[in-house]
Assembly symmetry: C2
Homo-oligomer: 351 residues x 2
């Protein structure tokens, strides 16, 4: 089969790999219908995270179950499934607490499971899925989704679940005012998630017309282009002299974390899902003095997918709008370039 | 009148001061029935916070209204009242959000109000209270409380409200396991607050027999004497292999913050009320990787007092047990020494 392999910074290749087979009785093999490039795939691409050897890459995919191990009971050949961005067992204390990203049997795509068997990356034609029953979510009544639905289903594997995590962490909800820092796919999904949870006012911080348009479509009531102190002042002005009840931090840099923290009112909540990089700080004394709560991290997508999926299938949310580009799998190198150069918000890859 | 004045590190004196009078129509003058020394009073005493000039000190007191300004409508002469540890207006956006410690007219005892009039410290015979209607809480049906009740009412001005804040911030409640780091008056009140909120299991970290005894009385189900990694291991053992759902940090040092953060399970909550000092850190990457939420800060005591007061008056909670020493006001210097040397958990001063 064809699969995307990262060889080093800036070096993405689509290569031939063995077609996956069932290795363990709890496995499934999924034929990928669509995959995509994540903002976090750009870290090794940009050399921010080391690439020690050629590695299969990609952790967001959806597709059809092609075969199952003998212990798999909840899935059947032909089921259309969503893969969250990590493998989880569903039975350990962390999974039972809903924190599937801290699963005791956690494994990542393109890596190895905890028995030492290799796992394919998501940006390829097929993937062996360990712990398939607890990891995959079946999409009921769907065998081959049309393009718009397919795109929305694909966002549930990561970006929409992550936007939802940020919105929950920031306590977005009825009567609350919300600011979203970051206009990438996650930030845009954060706007949609905050609106979905009933937020009264959603301010998207964005300087790009195409992203602003999607933010508006997703429910943003206001756009703020200013950054830094000017951005905070504009938020305060829009909200009648006070800062936001809820702020979603969807970038992870020092600057974006500051922007986010300084946009929260005393006693408000910051939800952060941008992986902290470049010296991002959460100063304890600032939290103490402002009574701002901070929550977030890696989204337990597996926990959220059923609830979000219901709304996607009902047509209530259409997060797939974040994909502004579709390419065949063979063009994965160009997909990375387009994401890296911010020519694309998010690229869908078709194997 | 007699009042406690700090002249510099280690230099506490009880001196003669003018008896307070109504300066503004929203003022009340309160004759102090009991006051006390706070852990945070020890910072200037220890030279951690600079003392530029002799300053009236003390921010926890209860007493009887002696006179009121003409605009005061909710209080009458003879009312017994609790003073939260700051002045608040009750009408600004922050107060309306319940975050009275971020009030736009915030003022501290022993300081000045926002019109520039001096405010007496709480460790004295009487205090001018600005914005009396919104700052003070009347204790219904009480004119001169007996000693045990008086001690419990006094804790509502700070330590019990602060323990409650930590417990709420840590999401303590039914079915939750709780660890409390810190066995000072606030930590002990945190144990009581967690129990009051319905926590299933409350582990107090303490090495002092007298404090352990109060923790047990307040509802601690377990005591952990170990610290650092050994303490974390013991918590994990007590909780059957997982860490705590809720951790209350009631100290504020680098070590106690680490102890607290490392005692929270993935997806759990840290409530911190210890003023961050000595390099206490909240590492963003640790929060990201663990999905631990962090919340806390200065407790909005004014917001919590009515609810806690009801339970004190009903005899459901008896937080006054944290006072292990009562001294006349004239012995304030000895009260500070006893607190500083940890010979006393908390000292009640009788003017």
């Amino acid at each position: 089969m064809r699969a995307t392999i990262i060889h080093g910074p800036g070096d993405i290749r689509v290569e031939e790999r063995d077609y996956p087979t069932i290795q363990l009785p709890t496995d499934a093999v999924v034929k990928v219908s669509a995959a995509c490039v994540c903002g976090s795939d750009l870290w090794p691409y940009r050399g921010v995270r080391e690439v020690r050897k050629p590695t299969a890459i990609g952790h967001e995919f959806i597709g059809t179950v092609e075969s199952v191990g003998e212990d798999v009971t909840g899935l059947a050949v032909g089921d259309f499934v969503i893969a969250p961005f990590v493998v989880s067992c569903g039975a350990c204390p962390q999974c039972l607490n809903g924190v599937t990203v801290a699963c005791e049997h956690l494994a990542g795509w393109g890596s190895k499971d905890d028995t030492g068997h290799a796992i394919d990356g998501g940006q390829g034609q097929a993937v062996r899925v360990p712990l398939a029953d607890s990891t995959l979510v079946k999409v009921p009544g769907v065998t081959e989704p049309e393009d718009a639905l397919r795109a929305s289903l694909l966002t549930l594997s990561d970006v929409m679940a992550t936007g939802h995590h940020a919105a929950l962490a920031a306590k977005a909800g009825p009567g609350r005012t919300v600011v979203v820092v970051g206009d990438g796919a996650v930030g845009l999904c954060g706007v949609l998630a905050a609106k979905r949870l009933g937020a009264e006012r959603v301010i998207a911080m964005s300087r790009h017309a195409d992203r602003q348009a999607i933010a508006r479509e997703f429910g943003a009531t206001d756009i703020v282009e200013e950054r830094g102190e000017a951005g905070v002042a504009r938020v305060r002005e829009l909200l009648g002299g006070v800062l936001a009840d809820s702020v979603l931090e969807c970038v992870g840099t020092k600057e974006s974390m500051e922007q986010a923290l300084h946009s929260v009112r005393p006693g408000g909540a910051l939800g952060f899902v941008g992986v902290p990089t470049g010296g991002a700080e959460i100063p304890p004394r600032y939290l103490f003095d402002t009574n701002i709560s901070v929550s977030g991290g890696m989204a337990p997508a597996r926990t959220y997918i059923p609830e979000l999926l219901a709304d996607v299938l009902d047509g209530k949310i259409n997060p797939g709008r974040v994909f502004d580009s579709v390419m065949p799998l063979e063009e994965a190198p160009e997909a990375y370039r387009a994401m890296d150069e911010r020519r694309a918000i998010k690229v869908l890859l078709e194997p």
